[in-house]
């Protein structure tokens, strides 16, 4: 299953990539592959912008607008301001969304 085409904000900077393969290991949707010892994006539309690859790239070769792909969170942020987050019930509660 894939979400909207050509929307994911994932970017790769091949010149910084050391080819360690960490992004391949952490990506839950098989977005990456190694080609000629560099990470490449196999299928951008599978990216859900979870940010696992960016956080685990020790070389800063990846960039993504990390966030929750949740309509309730986005609607809340539109109404209350701030970044969309899972804290549906306020910042100090565990929330009942996810």
């Amino acid at each position: 299953m894939k979400y909207l085409p050509n929307t994911a904000s994932l970017k790769i900077y091949p010149e910084r990539c050391a080819g360690c393969g960490m992004c391949i290991e952490v990506c839950p949707h098989g977005v990456f592959a190694l080609e000629n010892k560099k990470a490449v994006i196999l299928d951008r539309d599978r990216c859900m912008e979870c940010g696992a690859c960016v956080g685990n790239c020790a070389f800063g070769a990846l960039k993504v607008d990390k966030g929750v792909g949740c309509a309730a969170a986005v609607i809340n942020s539109m109404i209350r301001g701030g970044e969309p987050s899972c804290d549906c019930s306020g910042p100090n509660k565990t929330g009942d969304c996810c």
Binding site: R46, C50, G51, A52, G67
Partner: protein, 393 residues
């Protein structure tokens, strides 16, 4: 069992757990340190079967069998707010008879996550390191950052993990990766983070393969069962949050007569729309998630609208009560209910495993004006109908 030190969380102790004095502990984490060893108020939980002595104190051993009560609680987690406070104490636990060379597996302090993990570890001798994720599962907590680099480093440090095991390797569930930076953990705590498979059921295979997961084991799926399990938490909130308000508005509109609000008119006139409201709610919260990959288009809002319009078409055709609506009410029906289904289906993006924030923002930018316009026009149509009924128009 007697070796387990019992401290009630929140009580004042001159000596914190882990043998540290209070002053040595990060003050903001005072509470969490009090619970850094799995501390039990008076009775240990039923799934603690004993203790295991280590150089850093005694560690509770946990059962790998789930009881009927564990299973019943997991059902309650899937269906209600029960899950909002379903936690285990953060800290270290033993499975089997682990030693200084045994693997350490990180988990969240959501009891459901912890149960899935301990069940999958049957027959192994390993340590479980439970992070304080405020009772949230690994993936969601990683997204929030509570299953995160800082918490992992902190937990490794206060539990004195380096005194308990000789190796420097910690297996973190792959879905925790969005909160963890492996290289930062290595730099700060000296432990190498090895990302395990997505599903706990593949852990044994992962360890047996020399800490390697296949591409299949590294990929998140979203099967029919996975989707269906999540639908009660779509249906319940919608039934509690939206439906009563909607029902009240419908009953008020149909019951409202020049002489006051009449119960019979409210019921007779409103009933078809209460039913359509339920139908569109289930179209959005149950049918759309269940048939997700089969419904055309990638947009959840569009998928929900399609399910909604089909549900309304079928209902008006086959449900006798809905077969005789006048033109204005029919326009209202075809306008409002598919949009309601669409809006509810859009909420399922939060449960899905593959939607990103940029996409959801894009969907909302397009659909929110339509939802608002649809709601306003729907209300106007109902008012026009009322005025016609009262022979004002």
């Amino acid at each position: 069992m007697t070796e387990l030190k019992l401290i009630k969380p929140g009580t004042r102790e001159t000596k914190a757990c882990c043998g540290q004095t209070q002053s040595a502990v990060h003050t903001q984490d005072e509470m969490s340190c009090k619970t850094c060893l799995p501390l039990i108020e008076t009775e240990p939980p039923s799934w603690v079967t004993g203790t295991c002595m280590t150089d850093a104190g005694s560690i509770p051993t946990v059962s790998t069998d789930l009881t009927a009560s564990d299973r019943w609680e997991s059902v309650r987690c899937r269906t209600s707010a029960f899950r909002n406070n379903y936690t285990v104490h953060p800290g270290l636990y033993a499975v089997g008879a682990p030693n200084r060379y045994s693997d350490v597996l990180a988990s969240a302090n959501y009891k459901l996550s912890f149960d899935v993990l301990r069940k999958a570890l049957k027959g192994l001798d390993v340590w479980i390191l439970v992070l304080d994720t405020k009772g949230i599962n690994v993936w969601c907590a990683a997204g929030k950052g509570t299953f995160g680099t800082d918490e992992l480093i902190h937990r490794i440090s206060i539990l004195k993990l380096a005194r308990i095991v000789d190796h420097r390797r910690i297996i973190v569930p792959q879905l925790g990766a969005s909160g963890i930076s492996a290289h930062k953990v290595k730099d700060a705590a000296g432990f190498e983070v090895c990302y395990g498979p997505v599903r706990a059921a593949d852990i044994k295979a992962y360890i047996a393969a020399g800490y390697k997961a296949t591409r299949e084991q590294r990929t998140v799926k979203f099967s029919l069962i996975d989707r269906l399990i999540l639908t009660p938490m779509e249906i319940n909130p919608a039934m509690k949050k939206y439906y009563p308000r909607y029902a009240l508005i419908i009953l008020a509109i149909f019951g409202l007569q020049p002489g006051g609000i009449f119960f019979m008119e409210a019921l007779v006139g409103g009933l078809p729309f209460l039913l359509l409201g339920l139908i569109s709610l289930f179209a959005g919260a149950l049918v759309t998630p269940a048939l997700l990959p089969l419904i055309p288009f990638r947009s959840f809002a569009l998928k929900g609208w399609i399910t909604g319009i089909l549900a309304v078409l079928l209902s008006t055709k086959f449900v006798a009560m809905l077969g005789h609506l006048n033109t204005i009410l029919l326009i209202f029906t075809y306008l409002f209910f598919p949009l309601a289904s669409s809006y509810i289906a859009l909420q399922f993006t939060g449960s899905s495993t593959f939607t990103g924030m940029t996409g959801v923002k894009k969907e909302l930018k397009m659909s929110a004006p339509l939802y608002i316009a649809g709601a306003v026009v729907s209300l106007i149509l109902l008012l026009v109908y009322k005025l016609g009924e009262w022979r004002v128009l």
